[in-house]
């Protein structure tokens, strides 16, 4: 082939078709969703993150938690996500509507976290686990996050925030481990993770039904 212009036009066209199919149409169909209201509670679902949870998400992103943890529940007969209790149902696009930066993840070096806020709501467990994962989970290969905590000398009474650690993980005498505001925000974010937990399908049906009602009138 001798005509460069045709070749250039050709390969730009192939890229363009994939852009239309894999980018543009998903944006128009999946990326254009309007917030849903739970028909029972009247609240927006999924609920948007509070300021504290948003800050926690920034810590999650900053420290790359996504590189070991996914946030998606696959359907039944696809792996064992639901059988392991990682979610009641598969997660769908509407579950992530208010998610901001999607953190679906592609590795499960650690467990999926889509519904960790339902499965493990305990703040103290998360704090201890983040300080050093092996203190709650022997054999875990998750990194410790000591830099999200402060080791301080006990002056007078122990702080109410101090972590209760055991065995090899206790600090030396006279010292305690205090969570920083950042790690508390991170835990608040983890506690908010309940993808697939809300009845978004019910809310979508309610929207369709109310639109039908309006048309009837």
């Amino acid at each position: 082939m001798n005509r460069f212009k045709f070749i250039v036009a050709g390969f730009l066209f192939t890229l363009f078709t994939s852009f239309v199919g894999l980018v543009l149409i998903p944006i128009l169909t999946l990326g254009n969703q309007t917030p849903l209201i739970d028909p029972e509670t009247g609240e927006q679902i999924p609920p948007p993150l509070t300021a504290l949870e948003q800050r926690g998400k920034e810590i999650y992103i900053s420290n790359g938690c996504m590189y070991c943890h996914s946030q998606q529940v696959r359907p039944e007969r696809v792996g064992t996500d639901i059988e392991r209790g990682w979610g009641k149902r598969r997660t769908i696009a509407a579950d992530y509507m208010n998610d901001g930066r999607a953190l679906l993840g592609t590795m499960r070096t650690g467990p999926d976290l889509a519904t960790i806020g339902v499965r493990m709501p305990s703040e103290s467990w998360h704090l201890i686990h983040l300080y050093n994962p092996r203190s709650t989970s022997p054999g875990s290969n998750m990194p410790p996050f000591p830099f999200l905590f402060k080791k301080q000398k006990i002056t007078g009474e122990k702080s109410s925030d101090a972590l209760t650690l055991g065995g090899d993980f206790t600090p030396e005498d006279g010292y305690e481990i205090i969570p920083t505001p950042d790690v508390k925000a991170l835990v608040a974010y983890l506690q908010s993770l309940k993808f697939g937990h809300y009845d978004v399908k019910g809310a979508q049906r309610a929207v369709i039904e109310s639109k039908a009602e309006i048309r009837k009138k």
Partner: protein, 478 residues
Amino acid sequence: MSEIDIEKSRQERLEIDRAATKPVGMFIGTSLVWLLLGSFLAIGASIKLHNPEFLAEANWLTFGRVRPAHLNTVAYGWLSTAGIGIGLWILSRLCRVPITDYTSLTLAAVFWNLGNAVGTWGILRGDGTSIEWLEYPPYAAPLLIISFAFVMLSAISLVRRRPPGHIYVSQWYILAAFFWFPLMYVTSQALFFWNPIQAPAQGAVNWWYAHNTLGLWFTPIALGAIYYLIPKVIGRPIHSYYLSMIGFWSLAFFYAWAGMHHLIGGPYPAWLISASVVASVMMFVPVITVAINQHTTMKGSFSALRWSPTLRFVVFGGVSYTLASLQGSLMAIRSLNYLTHFTHYTIAHAHLGAYSFASMVFFGAIYYMMPRLLEREWPSAWLIKGHFWFCSIGFIIYFVSLTWGGYLQGIELNTKDTPFLEIVKLTIPFLKSRSWAGSLMTLGHLFFAVNFVWMLARKRSASTTATLLGKQGPLTNP
């Protein structure tokens, strides 16, 4: 063929190589720095997965930052930078015109390296985006974009100045890569950062970009290099030129549609995933045409692997391309994907493509190019052999470790009664093996870097064994 014709053609080739020395040399030289940095980041990340307390005190060295820093430095610091240099040189050779925009390419090299430095520093300090393959914080992107604009202009200038006549397949591949990459990069930056799209659509954009960076940026440059270097080294033309055109167009069409196979099982509509699964399987077409072409061209010349350093790397890479792509097509089929998704198996596959294919081909290309750019030989054959053997054997161990370990991991993940911590435990020996393998590969890279620096430091020597620079001997007069 008269002596005059031979001399004229030689002078023309020399002029082209000399014009390329500094601009291309800058990209190749700096790419090696990133190769080393990326390799050390890789070893750090690998050790942390079986030894999580390793260097865990500092926040900038936490696994979740070191791992994306590794990916981005090898993707944009090593592979892309080397790819720019190799692509420009092959274009210059095939268009038969010298590179003339030395100033703008110098700027491009500075900006490209600065962008990578700023980006890597940004990830380590905590500004990483957690968007796979786009982890450089947004403030690094403008540097890369401006740089690449200069690179594109240079490539277009070469193509426009070429004399009329046939366009060789490598020119299509490389020119296409130089258009595809910036279009995808700028589009992704816009959709993620300048005018962010809603979360449910982000995965589609993410994997359209990331998968296409592999298939429409690294792959075409590497294929262009293979199509040029194999025939040049052995002195025989490509066996079926016709097949190579089919290969190009089927790659252009099918690869671009394949990206959604990274999202199988995820919150996406079935038609989106299925389109990509079909395209992924159709990738058999370009991959088999390339494999047939490479094999039939090489047939009868396999002994060349003994005397040609370039060919060792390039053929190793070419075979890896076939294997990686066939494996990839199979992994896109849902039933296999349900087993391998989310496991270390995927990581092994990714490195079969980005390392065993793209990096090894680029190593081969650099071994061919540098003597022609610098008009002197590589100082040490032993360092070259060491580079090849440490990297090839190291990689084979890497691939076997993570494929086997990932497969077992996948089986247990799909066994609901296996506690998660048991799964972690079973992967540890494979992860340790990967750290050893990665160390061997890094050693190979060090051999490469030492040989490179030694070559730069050497003065142009009047060697009596006329090897790479023409039968009459190395040139003493420009």
